[in-house]
């Protein structure tokens, strides 16, 4: 797409220290802690019991609810406990804890799926346990099965990787361009899509070249070079940049005829189609200013952050902040006692100096937040409206269109936590909408009752 127009964004230091470092497999931890909720939707129920012996790729959790992706064991070993724990989001979840036996025997169930049509393809996608690996963790089989399949014509492969530090997608694309392209072909074939656009930020010329080398002669798969502007990898941004179509808040990509998948998701899908091995490992960038040996590692799902850090040589200083994900949208962990799940793509460790929080001062109306917002919102106005709890004004300034990318807060010289406030404001608006709806329903019920009374 070359409309020449772009969505706004910001320039952030790339800090891609690990670019060029091939992904190495991590030595097995002693135990893995596999959470039963690794996706948006219904949590899985464990299908194994304490004392069971499990193998790599064996199903250990599932749920019949439609919005769910099954979970498989990443190791071979013995289930030693199934217990509740508190996630980093403060929710209660269940862990299946497996003592690793080190043999890594492959489960008998792991064999290439038989795919002949769309239904069997979608069944395979579900069986692969895949979720959006870019971080959203939306079950992939749901995403690939939109309500309006005939209107969907384009697959956008997200290879932007716009977060600073993170380079796993980059390294994955360089090493596996061929498999990713095969995956795209399968997706296009079974979902009846016309074309694929692989969006890659221009700071990864080797990844772009890797694709272009094998794509000469392909007319329906192409690479689109994205600008080096954060957040090119945000779903609404990459859709617009690659196709020129605007995804409005509340709509799904399929509504504008697009399915978006992360490049690693496509690769893992292709691997599943070829071998039947579901998603059990995740590649991560381990970096930050105190990691002894910053590198890209492939870890079994359920490995504790702590173990990953030790594998990377430990830390050279006292940890102030540890992130799941990148510095723009990543989640700060209260401790390193959390397990790697499907949606993680980085562990970043920083010292206290880096982690220090900035004191918030008054908004000076400088407009930097407005100039940086890809959604063309006015964060300063939203912040003010939120301060006054003014739902009407929040709606007038389109609060629900915020995608929490953080460009505004990054740019703010007053250090206001704009996207955090806007997230709270969205909650306020949703609560107000729910209240208004309940009130209207109550009124309607009352009127109906009164009418009935009048008839008697």
């Amino acid at each position: 797409m070359s409309s020449g127009k772009h969505l706004k964004g910001i320039h952030v230091d790339h800090c891609k220290n690990t670019a060029g470092q091939a992904i190495i497999p991590m030595t097995l931890p002693e135990k893995v802690f596999i959470p039963m909720s690794q996706h948006i939707g219904a949590p899985c129920q464990p299908v194994v019991a304490v004392g069971d012996h499990v193998k790599v790729g064996q199903l250990i959790g599932d749920n019949a609810a439609p919005m769910c992706a099954p979970i498989h064991s990443s190791v071979s070993g013995e289930v030693v406990a199934i217990e509740k724990f508190m996630t980093s989001f403060g929710r209660v979840d269940t862990n299946v804890i497996i003592q690793v036996d080190g043999k890594q025997e492959i489960a008998e169930t792991v064999k290439p799926p038989v795919v002949t049509d769309k239904a069997s393809f979608l069944a395979a996608v579900r069986a692969s346990g895949l979720v959006g690996l870019g971080g959203a963790s939306f079950p992939t089989h749901i995403k690939y099965n939109p309500a309006n399949p005939d209107a969907v014509d384009t697959l956008v492969v997200n290879g932007a990787e716009c977060e600073p530090y993170i380079t796993v997608d980059h390294m994955t694309m360089v090493a596996h361009a061929k498999e990713i392209v095969e995956g795209c072909k399968n997706i296009m074939k079974y979902l009846n899509l016309k074309k694929t656009i692989i969006g890659i930020e221009s700071n990864k010329p080797d990844a772009i070249k890797a694709f272009n080398d094998i794509l000469s002669g392909e007319s329906d798969i192409s690479v689109f070079e994205l600008r080096q502007v954060y957040p090119q990898g945000a779903e609404r941004v990459i859709i617009y940049e690659c196709t020129g179509r605007h995804l409005i808040a509340g709509k799904l990509p399929a509504d504008v005829g697009v399915i978006v998948s992360n490049c690693t998701t496509v690769l893992k899908l292709q691997e599943f189609l070829a071998t039947g091995m579901p998603l059990v490992n995740k590649s991560l960038t381990v970096d930050g200013n105190i990691v002894a040996k910053p590198q890209n590692v492939e870890v079994p799902l359920g490995t504790k952050v702590h173990d990953v850090i030790e594998f990377c040589g430990g830390l050279t200083g006292e940890a102030g902040k540890i992130l799941f994900g990148g510095p723009m949208m990543g989640k700060a962990l209260p401790s390193d006692d959390f397990a790697v799940t499907k949606g993680n793509n980085a562990i970043l460790c920083f010292d206290k100096d880096f982690a220090q929080q900035h004191e918030e001062t008054a908004c000076i109306s400088c407009g930097r937040c407005v100039r940086g917002c890809p959604m063309n919102l006015m964060p300063a106005k939203l912040s003010r409206a939120y301060k006054h709890k003014d739902v009407e004004l929040l709606n007038k300034y389109n609060v629900m269109s915020c995608m929490d990318c953080g460009c505004c807060a990054y740019s703010c010289p007053a250090r206001k936590q704009l996207n955090f406030e806007i997230k709270q404001a969205k909650g306020l608006v949703m609560a107000a909408n729910a209240a208004a709806k309940a009130k209207a329903e109550a009124k309607a019920a009352k009127e109906a009752a009164a009418k009935e009374g009048g008839n008697n």
Binding site: L7, D13, R236, Y240, H246, L247, I248, A249, H306, E310, L315, A319, G320, K321, I322, L323, P327, M328, M329, G330, A332, L333, P334, S335, D336, D337, F350, A355, Q357, H358, T361, A362, C363, I364, S365, C366, G367, R368, V370, C373, M375, N376, M378, A380, K381, K396, N398, S401, D404, G406, A409, Y410, S411, C412, P413, A414, R415, Q417, N419, K423
Partner: protein, 323 residues
């Protein structure tokens, strides 16, 4: 096996910020005004520096004292009070009495800024309101334009034996002989301390543009409309841009974030409005100069301009329908 690391800092994303903060912005504006200050010291002598220091000190002390007295958080470290003092000083004649200057600083910091809630809450530019108040209250002292030997012959001749004399705009109003364009460009004319040198102000403006502290819309639309209306009124556009407070106002005062619109379209309207008001006052008003009044008026309109020029959602037309 090492102990788990606990008690980590948990804060919301983003976990990195742009190094530019409020203080660095204010510092940049102060740096950008230094060329103008240097020219004024050269043209008007040492008193220009003394008067500037008095203003800066008074503004900082008023802010400190007010916040101390009201038990508010100290913000003098953000340099905004110092900047207000500097800008206000540059809006005064070099002969202005210190005590009157301090009255102006009180108006700017205490009345216009702090009583409205501090930085970010003031509806009008503190330095502009203070300048207008001083102009109304101390009209003679505020128009006591020192003439020195460094100045253009036309200015010196018009002043005769007096130590003070009419500014180029006043000379224009009288139809007298005007200083050369070059003198007005360099700053060897009389007037408010910081107004005289167009080149010094332009250098500062370019610095601010490069540092992305200001954007081009307000200065360019302001100056362009002054030039266009000047030509339309049969005046000399170059003279009107260089004379009086247009450069200082367009680059440093109309661009004050708090009191100007936030969106580019709003900034264009704002700048154009400032230019138009300036020229209407110069051409038809009772005063030879109108920059301050023009900016103040547009400050008052800023919330409305902001509302008219609200950002639209991507891919949605003005009526809320999809494009």
């Amino acid at each position: 096996m090492a102990e788990n690391r606990t008690g980590l800092i948990v804060s919301s994303a983003p976990h990195v910020v742009n190094p530019v903060d409020t203080t660095s912005i204010m510092r940049d504006v102060i740096i950008a005004l230094i060329p103008a200050l240097i020219v004024s010291i050269y043209v008007f002598g040492f008193r220009a520096l003394a008067l500037t220091l008095v203003n800066v000190a008074a503004c900082v002390i008023f802010e400190w004292a007010f916040q101390k007295f009201m038990h508010r958080k100290q913000t003098i470290g953000d340099l905004s009070a110092a900047l207000t003092g500097l800008i206000l000083a540059l809006n005064m004649p070099s002969t202005f009495p210190f005590w009157m200057a301090i009255v102006g600083d009180f108006i700017a910091i205490v009345i216009v800024k702090q009583l409205f809630g501090g930085l970010g809450e003031n509806f009008a530019n503190p330095a502009i309101v203070a300048r207008i108040a001083l102009f109304v209250g101390f009209a003679t002292a505020m128009t006591n334009w020192q003439v020195t030997s460094k100045m253009d012959p036309a200015i010196v001749a018009a002043a005769g034996d007096a130590m003070t004399g009419a500014t180029p705009l006043a000379l224009y109003a009288k139809g007298a002989e005007l200083p050369s364009t070059m003198s007005m460009f360099l700053g060897t004319i009389n007037g408010s301390m910081g107004e005289v040198s167009a080149i010094a102000l332009i250098i500062g403006g370019i610095y601010l543009l490069i540092r992305k502290v200001i954007t081009w819309e307000i200065p360019v639309s302001f100056i362009a409309v002054v030039a266009i209306l000047s030509a339309a009124f049969g005046r000399d556009p170059l003279f009107d841009i260089l004379a009086g407070g247009v450069m200082l106002g367009a680059i440093f005062m109309a661009t004050d974030y708090v009191t100007s619109p936030i969106n580019p379209a709003g900034k264009l309207i704002f700048g154009a409005g400032c230019g138009a008001m300036t020229m209407l006052i110069r051409q038809f008003g009772a005063y030879p100069e109108g920059v301050s009044f023009a900016i103040l008026l547009m400050n008052v309109l800023t919330p409305h301009i902001d509302n008219w020029t609200r950002s639209k959602l991507n891919g949605v037309d003005n009526k809320g329908g999809a494009k």
